[in-house]
Symmetry: C2
Subunit: 221 residues, 2 copies
């Protein structure tokens, strides 16, 4: 198993690359600039003790370098254009959309696309041939990059293809987090919108911590 | 402080009535049928050891009986009609909307109103004179009615009137739960939609528990 992370030079992508590589899963960081991707990969490998397994490529090369799992971790403003630039390479693969449509200039708000959510927009753009799975929206990039900290967040996984969701859940559990099937792609309207609520709490002076996550809690807990 | 619970004869309303009364806050259950409301109040009082403080009234009488706090806990199908029937009595009070717009016949889905969420629909219907605060959507009715169990869920509170939200947060904390200001009323689109995701997990054979809640988790937890 290996994984491409498009937008892997950003904070969320870097943190995920570190965590997956540490778990023994080879990572290919994809960026518009392949040399920059390789530079970030070198930097991240230096942070890891184990035989480093992060490489860097231009976007299209990153997609073709992996078997199946492609994570889209670009800023929302680049969401559709990035997908357009790689869509012909995606059939046979699973697109894991972690993008949150934060409002321009206000990370406490979402500005949902007409399709309802980023995950639904990706599925509409890619068509039925490529399963899109929404996941990892609510995990703090800061926490991801602090490898000494556990991830204080469960992962809500949504999408219309059950088999693809189950594969993503298996992948995500390598990060030592719980992951749940949270229903069809339409539920991304809720799951993506949890992130600005967490960002609001992180900014709030009334909440005694930052980088909050959410957890599903059984009764009595 | 006292509180009216409209739709207080339903499972969510009963559980909240028991928990508030146990915390020493007098509760007036409101129902279309005042005699039925009083019958349920008697039944609930019998479950409580302390000097019982639950009474029952017809809807309009329940609203006029309390100082400020009116909880709307009716099924979604009765949401707008119930508000129409009491709207003239609400100025000077706070309407706490806990209704989740579950889809007819499928509690794993929301069927959001044109306004975006039940909380926003209530605010539009009542006008600016009455602050509407969304809260308590995600707490399991089953857990609420098991008084020996703690509430395994934080409460996300939203609305456009900060002072009203702060009063509701104070009220909700009497239930021994954490409550957070989760932003403006528009965030009810997310918060209300968390409930069917929890219901889906509760139904799932792959999740080893039912009646799940959600919690905001600090780093390292």
């Amino acid at each position: 198993m290996n994984v491409a992370i498009l937008g892997g030079t950003g904070p969320q992508g870097r943190g995920l690359a570190l965590r997956f590589a540490r778990a023994g899963i080879p990572v290919v960081i994809g960026s518009r600039d392949g040399a920059r991707a390789q530079g970030v990969a070198d930097e991240l490998n230096a942070q890891l003790d184990n035989a480093a397994t992060i490489s860097g490529e231009a976007l299209r090369d990153a997609v073709t370098a992996v078997d199946e799992m492609v994570i889209l971790a670009v800023p929302y403003s680049a969401h559709d254009a990035t997908l357009e630039s790689i869509r012909d390479l995606l059939p046979g693969k699973i697109l894991i959309d972690i993008v949150v449509p934060l409002a321009d200039g206000d990370p406490k708000k979402v500005d949902m696309p007409a399709a309802g959510s980023a995950t639904e927009a990706a599925q509409a753009l890619l068509g039925d041939e490529v399963p899109v799975v929404g996941a990892l929206h609510n995990v703090s990039a800061t926490t991801l990059n602090h490898l000494d900290q556990p991830i204080n967040c469960d992962v809500l996984v949504c999408g219309n293809d059950l088999a693809a969701k189950e594969k993503v859940i298996e992948l995500v559990r390598h990060l030592d987090v719980e992951a749940y099937n949270a229903g069809p792609a339409v539920n991304a309207r809720c799951i993506e919108a949890i992130t600005p609520i967490l960002i609001r709490l992180n900014i709030s002076k009334k909440v005694p911590f930052t980088h909050a996550g959410i957890r599903i809690c059984p009764p009595g807990s």
